[in-house]
């Protein structure tokens, strides 16, 4: 493998039902920075059926070029056709770096692609950078051991250097509708026999509206200290007052009080809101892993030794059941 043949930063532009996923836009923002450090291009890979019209959105978010693979076999995500398409792109275009969102789709696709192309894949990086020494090395830093340890990973002799990144970790650029870029139709020769081994019988969206807490500017988050659905109703009113969403620790998800889509942490979502208000959350390392990058963290807990206070900008030792309603009232009166 001649490493100098490989260049540019490629981003998997995940779409669902024709809607570009936020994580793809976030990755384009990061890719822009990485590509600029090496004077390279940002290329978005847009796979699907009737998705060409989404190309401009990707350019506005930082892409220089959009490769569109439009095909019936790509209408709904399946491992094999998507892997074949990305593999053909790698073979023909030789990307240096490839970023994929760590969604249920990206985490299914990434390892399959890395194994087919015999290259390395860093899981769920939280920091991506080009070293500022001569080597211009691509360094991917990620948490492991349940968030207890950070590791910086290199992929020295194989290309592309792949990484998945969880939604909410990188920041998208403000969309620039005037940005110029090229849109290229990319043809893929599919091996349909391999594809036919898996069939989608049905795809079910659960009725409940799935809040995307990773996009919220304000999160009022509750843990076991909140205790019940009634307790969360109080947080809900406070969150409304602040224009935010309610989030939860895993304890309350496991207890069936909150839905999994609102869970923050290692096995939930990574969030980075302007305000994270933690109510009755002890601050286990697996929870901190998902929220400690928030701009402002305020914690209310009745135990002054709760570990959540070690990451809070403002810690209040007290009873959330008293403080939360009072705070809501106070904010309401300020509005007037």
């Amino acid at each position: 493998m001649n490493l100098t043949d490989y260049k540019d930063v490629y981003v998997f532009a995940e779409q669902r039902e024709g809607k570009i996923q936020n994580v793809a836009l976030e990755l384009l923002g990061k890719a822009r920075e990485l590509a600029d450090a090496n004077q390279e291009k940002v290329v978005a890979m847009l796979l699907g059926k009737h998705v060409r019209e989404n190309a401009q959105e990707l350019i506005a978010a930082g892409a220089d070029e959009v490769l569109v693979v439009d095909h019936d076999l790509l209408a709904e995500y399946l491992t094999e056709p998507y892997t074949q398409a990305i593999t053909q792109i790698i073979k023909e275009r030789k990307p240096s770096i490839m970023l994929i969102g760590a969604t249920t789709i990206g985490r299914d696709l990434g390892p399959r692609v890395s194994a087919r192309n015999v290259t390395g894949l860093t899981a769920d990086a939280t920091k991506l950078e080009i070293s500022d020494d001569e080597a211009h090395e691509f360094r991917m830093t990620r948490p492991a051991f349940g968030g207890n340890l950070m590791a910086t990973i290199l992929c020295k002799d194989h290309r592309p250097q792949m990484s998945t990144v969880r939604p909410g970790v990188m920041q998208k650029l403000p969309a620039d509708p005037d940005r110029k870029g090229t849109v290229v139709d990319f043809k893929v020769d599919f091996d349909e026999k391999k594809i036919s081994r898996v069939k989608i019988v049905k795809t079910v969206k659960e009725e409940k509206t799935v809040a995307d807490i990773s996009q919220a500017k304000v999160l009022v988050s509750g843990g076991r200290g909140v205790g019940s659905k009634e307790g969360f109703a109080k947080l809900e009113t406070l969150a409304k007052e602040l224009g935010g969403e309610v989030a939860s620790s895993r304890a309350m998800v496991d207890a069936g009080v909150m839905e999994q889509s609102r869970q923050v942490g290692q096995t939930g979502k990574t969030v980075r809101p302007s305000l994270y208000l933690a109510c009755g959350i002890s601050g286990a390392i697996q929870h901190l892993a998902g929220m400690e990058e928030s701009d402002l963290i305020i914690a209310i807990n009745k135990d002054k030794f709760a570990p959540i206070f070690s990451v809070a900008d403002l810690g209040i030792v007290g009873d959330l059941h008293k403080i939360v309603p009072l705070l809501t009232e106070r904010l309401k009166s300020l509005q007037k």
Binding site: I153, R197, L327, R330
Partner: protein
């Protein structure tokens, strides 16, 4: 039906501590357990054994002490246990790990391979799909439930997604990655615990799997850990023990200061 379940021995990460001086993991006194998702996967396999009389094999790659989780699996009711252990396999990233395990699987007869979705120490969720790729088999990750249709030799699998779930029909043989939360694993049976120590754990070296040396261990790993360090927590702010009214004042002032309100 033959099923192979890949299980990994992991430190219980809820108990892991970091040595603040050296920045390394303190492993002493940290209990080793069977990775939770793998235990879930094993339960699915044992349910197929109950229903169809499937023959269940567990395999782990690791240090000799990983035998402990194989014994646990035997006590839960599996038929065969394999420990793949060799210095040559050490220092592997996910690609080299999956190459070695796929090599072992290639020597066996199976209709279904189950892995956990994710190991709680390495935390990558990559090994399952990579095994599937090396074996050129279809994969379904995030499996919450599966049914076997004997007449068509297919599996009907429920896969978790962000928005809900998907039902997929997959030809055997295939690879699935299981979620621990989808099922409650059975306990070891008392007579199982006794017989677990009579049963043999097969110990395989790298020579058994016929994978070229440049594909396993450190040599077969495209990624390397350049450095590892304990997570830096940002310095803590102020903490106040005050009345609810004072608390509200403090919070409101902070929100104003940061232009949240």
């Amino acid at each position: 039906m033959n099923i192979v379940v890949c299980i990994k021995q992991v430190p219980d990460t809820t108990e892991v501590k970091i040595n603040p001086q050296t920045g390394t993991l303190i492993r002493e006194g940290v209990p080793s357990i069977m990775n939770p998702d793998d235990k879930g996967g094993l339960e699915f396999a044992l349910q197929l054994k109950d229903k169809f009389g499937a023959h269940v094999t567990v395999i782990t790659m690791g240090l000799p002490q990983a035998e402990a989780i194989l014994r646990e699996a035997l006590a839960m009711g599996v038929d065969r246990a394999i420990l793949l252990t060799d210095r040559k396999l050490g220092g592997a990233d996910t690609l080299a790990t999956s190459s070695a395990i796929a090599g072992a699987l290639r020597t066996m007869d199976f209709d279904l391979v189950i892995t956990g979705r994710q190991a709680i120490d390495g935390d990558t969720a990559q090994v399952g799909p990579q095994i599937a790729e090396h074996l050129d088999l279809p994969q379904v990750s995030y499996m919450e439930d599966l049914q076997y249709n004997e007449s068509t030799k297919t599996f009907t699998i429920r896969k978790q997604t962000e928005e809900g779930y998907q039902i997929l029909e997959v030809q055997a043989p295939c690879v699935v990655t299981a979620l621990a939360s989808a099922v409650s694993p059975r306990y070891m049976r008392v007579n199982g615990i006794v017989t677990a120590y009579d049963k043999e754990v097969e110990v395989w070296g790298a020579d058994r799997i016929q994978v070229p040396e440049e594909r396993i261990g450190k040599a077969g790993s495209p990624t390397s850990v350049y450095k590892a360090f304990p997570k830096q927590l940002k310095p803590a702010g102020e903490t106040h023990e005050v009345t609810p009214e004072e608390a509200v004042e403090l919070i409101v002032n902070k929100l104003k200061e940061k232009h949240i309100i």
